[in-house]
Amino acid sequence: MPTLKIDNREINVPAGTKVIEAAERLGIMIPRFCFHPALGSVGACRVCAVAFTEGPVKGIQMSCMIDAQDGMVVSTTDAEAVDFRRHVIEFLMLNHPHDCPVCDEGGHCLLQDLTVAGGHGLRRYRGLKRTHINQDLGPLVQHEMNRCIQCYRCSRYYQEFTGYRDLGVMGIGSRVYFGRSAPGMLESPFAGNLIDICPTGVYTDKPSRYIGRRWDYQRQPSLCIHCSLGCNLTASARYRQVVRHEARPNLEVNGHFICDRGRYGYAYASIADRPRQAMAAGTPGPIVDILAGAREAIQQTVEKHGPGSVAVVVSPRSSLETLAVVKEACGQHGWTGPAAAHTNRQALNRNTAVSCLRPELAVSLAADTEAHDVLVIGADPLNEAPMLALSLRQVQRRGGHVIVIDPRGVQLPFDFDHWAVHPSAMGAILQALIQEIGGHRATAPDTPATFDITKLARRLNASPRPVVVCGTDILTPHEIALAGDLARALRRTHKVAGLFYTLAGANAFAAALLHDQPVSTEAVLDRIEDGGVRLLVAVEQDLWREFPDRKRLQAALKRLDHLVVLDYVDSPLNREAGHFIPTQPLYESGGHWINQEGRLQAASPVMAGGEPIEITGGSDHPPRVFDRRIPGDEPLAAWRAVAALAGEDEADPAPQLKTALADFHPAVNLSTPEATGQRIDLEAIAHDLVESGPAPEPAEDDAPADAVVLLLVDWTFGTEPLSAMAPALTRMEAAPVARLHPDEIARLGLAEGRPVTVSLNGNRLTVPVQADPRMAAGVMAVPRHHLLEWQVFGETRVIVKRSQLKAESE
């Protein structure tokens, strides 16, 4: 722990800390362009020069290149150092355009700041500036190359950090150019971070171009709810519209970055067809009246058919506040539910994962990057939880090793081992691995010889820091529990072995804490069908988009006496509702979420809500129509609406929320502010759910020769329902296809590029076939794409007989 003096103040820092970071700890921001905490030092820009006056290093040196050492005395204000930095800034400004007034970076531009701070107020240079041609990099990132100061952050980030190669540096000398070899869409789903990382306005946020300066925005810390990782971000709003997300550094979760799904997925909160009007049977009315009407319908149903005849489904994306109030309401009134998963398998998967996540095993996304060996089971990181892929990339960069056991053609931006095995073989492999790790020889039937379990077990056993990552989308509870056992087995030989599950839904972890025995929408539909449930309340759960059997859903809805829908997205479901109550997305409501490792995180409300001025004014500003209230300000936070449905008329819902949160689960403690940002008390979660739950499903009849397993899966873009509404992301989406191994295509008599129709129990799904040699045999993967009516088979994992597949001619 070296101790050094910077500007006459002493500081003690861990060995390996650079002087520039040590200064930062003292609150001294040494200028920097090329240095970035996530990318490290390269010593390129030369703007971080400081004077070392005593100690092991002497003279003017780059503070980003020098490790803090004992006895160093550093001056950041030394005249020579200041002069040095002034020259560097002047050099950079030689070619920098006089663009600030029209530059989207203006107002949060590091170059602007340092130019002013460096005292370079007047330009001496009168000559021509070098110019470049900009490139169209796709819908997300705007390119303005003349503003580049050649700090190399972008190429280092893009190529070294994320592992993609299509953007980088070209040319030498003063001709260096950062971009692609030819204009075109950036391939990395992490490309948006270029905007945050570029210290100037070369890469700016395209969708929010010319909308405002940063100081114009309402900005608040927020969270991404487009997958279960809970990446931290800063949301900006202007004129009642969410306009931009930026990554918010959280070194325990997402580091400095977020994925593009998270960065651009916000549009749903402000689009024109977002429902803002409460309705009773399609007729608009004041929200209080509609709430009262809905409450009355509930009371009548309860009176007629008993409390169990009212059921609630809620979204695993809803805030903890909403989940808690829903849980409290169901508990208090004896309503059925709440259901917070679609199918029984999915509900069990989630709860199994949560119950297996023992405190000593849980690791964070950030801690993942420190693993030496990561075994990924039944997860497709890039598609299901994109930032996980970026974490794993860091594992590989540090010399670690990633092995993925998954039937899909998993792709990652780095070299890894992929065991493409049939879903039905996964359990046996895991069992064999556990045996081997315990020192017993074992084999797994149906595992190709190339997948050497003994070797893998040896590798994991020898690893200083192994982590097991397990998905919950395509697996069964049995395998999910085995993944936990595997981590536990490793823990016996390792002090540090980690377990990391990904879940379905940003608040799926909290949803798992709703009940010991999870309830699924599937089970609720059973009750509707047998007449037990007569009224359904759907809280931010767009069953129409997300429930995997639309026909069954529609039939069930018809059987209901009444449907109450609370939501902030437009859906045909809303139009079926007897009462529709508009709710607020997190930008308006704020709230808490628990990510897949059990970390409790908060999002602040960013704005008050109301119809964006862009819509009310037809893009004209300022508004020409004046009113006492903001148009479209009716939506309520879902928890408030639920409280109103469940509580007394006119009652203040705040105390209700407080009790609901306090009663939610012993593991979740919101009473101290420090709890936010920390992992909840995993110890307080029952870890025997798996055993007490229903016995694991029998393994599917060993991939019969005449069948394939159809998996309906997540894709980075196009499947997650909220982000799929973002216009900026639609160009990023690939068209939906059914991916199969080429041999499988031949075996099934299908043809690449031609559609295949899957018919099962009278339901049909038609989708073009695409060959993917990385897929396992006997598997067909189709995305839950918003352009595809995939909600036909009641499950996202089904067995399809050969006879149920038909090759279409066109």
Partner: protein
């Protein structure tokens, strides 16, 4: 080929005795270096072979193609042994006569011999020619003597004896000690003591270490390393083997630019031969050392000669330098301990092992030992490759070896160290070849490029040229070099174009100092040197350009009027005859006049006029 033992080396060596002592036959050593290739040596060689065949001399005469002989200005050239007879500027047509007269009748062909420019006498023996007489070949000891594609001939000249000694009779520490005693300093430019560098790397912990050879040679006007590789590739391999033993490395790379196809070809052949003999690969000569060498072809960026950039380039990354520390001796190629040495440095190593460090240090100055190879070029009569003992005055190199300045012009300056170095004017020509002495007068020893400039050279234009090179070759990583050199170039261009402003010199100096102090790597740190040294010795030329809009050397086209001064014109008509555009109007006994409509501003007339009458 069978793997050799040390004894086998001796056997091969004695088998080569007759050939190398030029006994039993007549040996015709024809230069196959790049310079002579360019002037047609291959065609000459073919004609020579045909003439020999024709006369049925095949059994008594042997033609050997060597690497660069050194005296490139005189190519294509041929040396006949016994007798050491030097023939120059040969043509295909000369061959029958040469064979008839010299080989059959024993009479050297007078007209093809070297002619002394002063005494006008023909000199037959190579060693008597002044160009060679003042030299001391050590790194170049085999040049022009052996066939670079024959490992046996190399062994015949004590080749691999040094390696054998190092492998069997010396510990790594003894090798390093010997290098330290030799006083060898890196010939790549920086002059870092080689023994010390090896010592660092040998003390670095690690099972994997690398020995690299820097054959990037990017300075304009430099061709020393290329010539060594073309003439004596095994010397470099042997040097690397010895270095490998010293630091315990098992893998070596030679980083050579693709623009050196002949050098790369000969290196490839040499590596194959050495592998065949077990001089590379596992257990070299049966010793414990296993070491392999691979050639890595660079695309020819100047900055890739810088050590850290070179290593990135071998790693397949963009060739950009990175700050030191960490030094390559600790974290070099692929983050493993690495030494990088220049071609010439390595070519000297075998002899140091054979004859001892003290022998090597026997010549030279207090701080600079041994010899140094220079590539002499520019406005000098004897363009070529020279190797002189350290301490030799620059004047000796330029006048005695180089034969002075052609066309009776005056010497102006010699640029040492290329774009990283500086110019040395007449007043400092007695400076000895010595790292410190040369630095004192504002230049650097550099890797050996020596560009001679005569009075017709504009020093502002020269500074502009080198700055253009530097800004073009800057890797673009660090701000001062990337932006600063471009700014300097803009100012120099402006001055050359007659748009110079009074404070330009001050700005140039300020920029130079900033770049020197703040650039990341040697390229930027030394990039302003040519400007600073030109300003040091020829400030008046800059001032003439800026204040008087006048180019004293009459090189800067924008400042010339393309007119003839009638009083100075002797009406000789030289300009008229030389003009390629027929733009000069001249009649006998008339003053010449330039038709500006036709003139293409090629400056030929300025060169041809002996009376400085065109302005």
């Amino acid at each position: 080929m069978a793997k050799l033992t040390t004894q086998d080396l001796e056997v091969i060596k004695s088998a080569q005795k007759a050939r190398l002592a030029f006994r039993e036959r007549t040996y015709l050593l024809i230069c196959g270096g790049t310079g002579c290739h360019a002037t047609g040596s291959i065609r000459v060689k073919d004609a020579l072979l045909a003439a020999i065949e024709d006369k049925g001399l095949g059994d008594t005469v042997q033609v050997i193609e060597t690497g660069c002989n050194g005296f490139c200005a005189m190519g294509p050239l041929l040396v006949v042994h016994p007798g050491d007879i030097f023939y120059q500027k040969l043509t295909v047509e000369d061959m029958p006569e040469l064979v008839e007269s010299h080989l059959i009748n024993g009479k050297p062909v007078e007209r093809l011999l070297y002619k002394d420019p002063v005494s006008k006498a023909r000199i037959a023996a190579q060693t008597k020619i002044p160009f060679f007489a003042h030299q001391m070949p050590r790194a170049l000891r085999n040049k022009g003597l052996i066939n670079p594609e024959s490992i046996d001939e190399y062994i015949g000249r004590d080749g691999y004896i040094g390696a054998a000694k190092a492998l069997f009779d010396m510990t790594p520490q003894q090798i390093i000690e010997e290098m330290k005693i030799s006083g060898m300093r890196g010939r790549g430019g920086a002059g870092f003591p080689t023994g010390v560098k090896w010592d660092f790397a040998s003390k670095s912990a690690g099972a994997v270490k690398y020995v690299l050879c820097n054959a990037d040679e990017g300075d304009p006007g430099a061709f020393m390393d290329r010539s060594i590789l073309e003439a004596d590739p095994h010397a470099v391999l042997e040097g690397m083997i010895i270095a490998a033993k010293a630091i315990d490395a098992h893998k070596g790379y030679i980083y050579a630019r693709t623009e050196y196809p002949l050098a790369i070809k000969r290196l490839g052949i040499a590596i194959d031969q050495a592998k065949g003999y077990g001089l590379l690969g596992d257990n070299i000569l049966g010793s414990a050392l296993s070491f392999d060498i691979e050639i890595y072809q660079g695309a020819g960026a100047f900055v890739c000669g810088e050590e850290t950039a070179l290593m990135r380039s071998i790693e397949g990354k963009r060739g950009m330098p990175r700050p030191r520390p960490p030094f390559p001796a600790h974290k070099g190629l692929w983050e493993k301990p690495t030494i990088l040495n220049n071609v010439e440095t390595l070519a000297n190593v075998p002899q140091i092992m054979v004859k001892g460090g003290a022998w090597y240090a026997g010549v030279g100055t207090q701080t600079s030992k041994g010899t140094k190879v220079f590539a002499l070029s520019g406005d000098v009569n004897n363009i070529g490759l020279v190797e002189v003992p350290m301490g030799t005055p620059l004047r000796t190199i330029i006048y005695d070896i180089g034969g002075g300045i052609p066309n009776k012009r005056k010497f102006k300056a010699v640029q040492l160290g290329g774009p990283s170095g500086g110019c040395i004017p007449e007043s400092h020509l007695d400076t000895p070849v010595d790292y410190e002495a040369i630095a004192k007068v504002g230049a650097i020893m550099g890797s050996g490029g020596a560009i001679v400039m005569d009075e017709k050279t504009c020093m502002v234009d020269m500074a502009r040229f080198f700055m253009e090179f530097i800004q073009d070759e800057s890797c673009g990583k660090c701000t001062p070099c990337r932006e600063g050199t471009r700014r300097q170039l803009q100012i120099l261009e402006k001055i050359c174009e007659g748009r110079g402003e009074p404070d330009d010199i001050d700005i140039l100096v300020e920029l130079s100092q900033t770049i020197r102090e703040t650039a990341l790597c040697g390229l930027g740190q030394t990039g302003p040197n040519p400007v600073l040294s030109a300003l040091r010795y020829f400030r008046d030329e800059f001032e003439a350009h800026i204040h008087e809009k006048r180019c004293p050397a009459k090189r800067c086209v924008a400042l010339l009027r393309f007119e003839v001064e009638p009083d100075a014109c002797t009406r000789c008509g030289m300009c008229f005859r030389a003009c390629p555009a027929d733009a000069i109007v001249w009649e006998k006994k008339e003053v010449a006049r330039i038709d500006k409509e036709k003139c293409i501003k090629c400056l030929t007339c300025y060169d041809k006029c002996r009376f400085d009458a065109i302005f």
